[in-house]
Amino acid sequence: MLAANFLLLAALLFCIGVYGVIARRNAVMVLMSIELILNSVNLNLIAFALMQGSIDGHIFALFVIAIAAAEVGVGLAMVLLIYRNRKSISLDELSELKG
């Protein structure tokens, strides 16, 4: 199997995830897009581990999975907090950083 296949797939998923981050208004949707990105990275890592014949890529991928899970947990907690305070999780309205 060609290495390019995995890598291209990963690249495609990455770019779809980037599009999702930019385009989506709902905070949870943005988090989902981020998950897409992280998964594409994982695929890249696995592919390279296969190419290099080393196990480091697998280990790294495991770590990424763990961190991604943590990050989603905290992120969703924050989204809940925001929802509780503002009754909306539309990122358009969450522009306190404006200016």
């Binding site: 980037v18 981050v21 930019i22 385009a23 989506r24 208004r25 943005v30 990122l91 358009d92 969450l94 522009s95 306190e96 950083l97 404006k98 200016g99």
Partner: protein, 852 residues
Amino acid sequence: MLAADAVKLSSGWFLENLWLAALIPAVGYAFIMLFGKKMPNKGSEFGLASIAASLIVTTGAGIQWIQRVDSADKAAKGAGEEGLGLLQSLRSLPAAAEGEAKPFVEPVTQTWVWWQNSGIEFGLGSHADGLSVLLLWLVAFISLLVQIFSLEYVRGDRRYTQFFGALTLFSAGMLVMVMADNMVQLILGWEIMGLCSFMLIGHWWEEGANSRAALKAFFTVRVGDVGLLVGTAIIYFGVEDWIAENPALRDAGFNGFSIEAIQAWALSGQGSSWVLVMGATALFIACIGKSGQFPLHTWLPDAMAGPTPVSSLLHSSTMVVAGVFLVARIYPVFWEGFNIANGGLSFIAIIGAITIVIAALLAFVQDDIKKVLAYSTVSQLGYMMLGLGTGAWLPAVFHVFTHAFFKCCLFLCAGSISHSGSHHSFDMKKDMGGLRKHMPITFWAWIISTLALTGVIPFAGFWSKDEIIDNVGNNGYTFLMWVGLGGAALTAMYMTRATYLTFFGEPRGAAAGHHDPDHDDTHSHATDEEAEEHELEEATVGAPMPKSLSAAANAHGDDHGHDDHHDDHGPHESPKLILIPIAILTFFACTAGFANATPLAVGGSLGVELGEEIEYVKTYVEPRYQPVAIESMVASGPGESLVPYEAGFVEADANLSAEEEEGAKKSGCGFETPADGTVCFFPKVSHAVPTTGKILLSLAVVALGYALAIGFCRAFYGQRNEKLVGLTERNGLARAGYKFLANKYYLDALYENVIVRGVAYPISQGAYWVNQNLIDGAVDAVGEGGKRTGQIVYDKIDQGLVDGAVNGSGTVASGSGEGLSGMQNGKVNLYGALIFGAAAVGAIVLVIINVG
């Protein structure tokens, strides 16, 4: 007798270190100016010491020069002795056989290169030969006597120190000039003398007349100095061309400025006659200015505004003979340039003759005793020029020598009279008369000096002036000889007038003890100490007030700082310090003539014929006309000389004849060109043998002058003969003549009103116009332009450009800020887009760099 090897001439320490004679007074000047005021005698010690040291050096140099000439003559005789003592030299001179040419005695020269510029070397050095040694001794001697005189005469003067400084500097300058071995140094000394003359004439510059006189002296001499520079330059190029064609001369030390080279070039026959004439004319113009010849003589009488020591030193004995010295020094140039060899009327002789007469005539109408003496000096300088112009080199130089003594003595007597007799006045008519009773020593000194001046035997002037007249006639200038005799008569006449007015007759004015009360009043505050007591602030300390100077006809503020004889107001004899120099000079006025008593030596005109040995000046001073082989000059170094008689005695040389001087006037140096490889330095001038007839004639002329004058004076001044008194008022011709003389032939009017004003007035008008319109206009325009420029800069550049740029940048900044602030809208999506977009751009760049 013909030695295959050359013989060394004796030299000496003084001859080789002659430069000390000029250096010591220069150092003395520096000491006087630096330390003089603090010394007990206010600096005169340095002056006297330095001049005395200079006198020692020059005396030593004179003795050694005499020894040198003797060694040359002895070597020529093959006597083989060397190094004679002075007395031996004087007594046992080798008698030159008749017709035997004496060898040329090479001068002792030393040169130091001062600076170089484009291949030309300018040097300083000393050139010791007979003429320079004679004049150096003369200058040092007279300077010393005048300084002694000044100790008393200018005592208490407000600028005592500067006076002595200037006197010493003048002596240094004249010594530098006389010992110069090149024209540049000669000019240097010439100019130093001019400067000191200016300083000393204007010593009491507080009075305008004195400073005007100083300026007049300086500028008139300056007009002549143009000729000096032009002549030096012309001759330089002529000499350099000659040296370029004869390279051997360069090894002998010749260059375009060297005086030896100039002398040799002039007589080499290779100088173009045009260059010679132009150079000689230009140089003689300088002599006209410096030596007070017609028409630039007008400054000399006005120079009497200076103190009497200045007049006696500078303007009678030493400085004014600088022009005569110049002609005598590079005589070959004038000899060839003005063709004196062929007996034609030369420019020099004409000017000299004119000067004799016009100065003598002017001396008749002067009331100021110093001015009489000044015109007398001018007249005697005319004699010297007449002599030089007609080929009578030796008598002219000898006359310089003797004239210095008696003229200086006359001036010092005049100073003595004014100091003690006429209460600081020089006006003969107003303040003198009958002084012979009160001032006997001065009187007899005056009489002896007058007799010397007029040429009465056996005093000094007779032996020199009559020689001039004799040689003038002998060389074929009969008319000029009669002019000279006439001048002698005139001299006798005006001196008699001056003597009579001063010493005989009834005392007048100050001589009678009368004082102008105003004059007396200010006079009593003459000294510095008294002026302080009496608070005469407006009077410059020590000077009498101008308006009360009725006693001074021409406002020469003869200062008097004495405090000794205020109590006795009558004329009396002068103190010792004044009389001692007078006495010494009187002695020399009696005896100096015997240094070259030609009538006693040859011709038997006075009943004795002592031989040529007693013509000391002729033997030791007059340069010999023998040609010199160039190789022998190359071989000798400074201080040593080889007697170059190989060339002199070569029989085959057709240019040299050893015939008798009387018979062979048309051969020898100056008449023919020297052979190849030889140069000669002095033309073969002829010497007249005095006859009894000529001597008696000149004495008779003088006696006639005396007789007429004494008769006239007694009649006019003494008895007030009605026919004579008031003649100028009654007779139109007499009045016109008197006016013409009194106005100095209107020459001063011509110079000042016509020439100076005619030149200066338009120039000053033009300069004023340029100043007002061009210069001021330019300045105003610049100012105006500056103002306009400032306005434009402010409006357009400052307000428009600079402020616009500043404002613009602010606008751009705020505008871009506002534009870019859209990026910060607080939306995470946009932030994310930016992040990824930036990462994309960064990645592209990386890819391009690494892959591209």
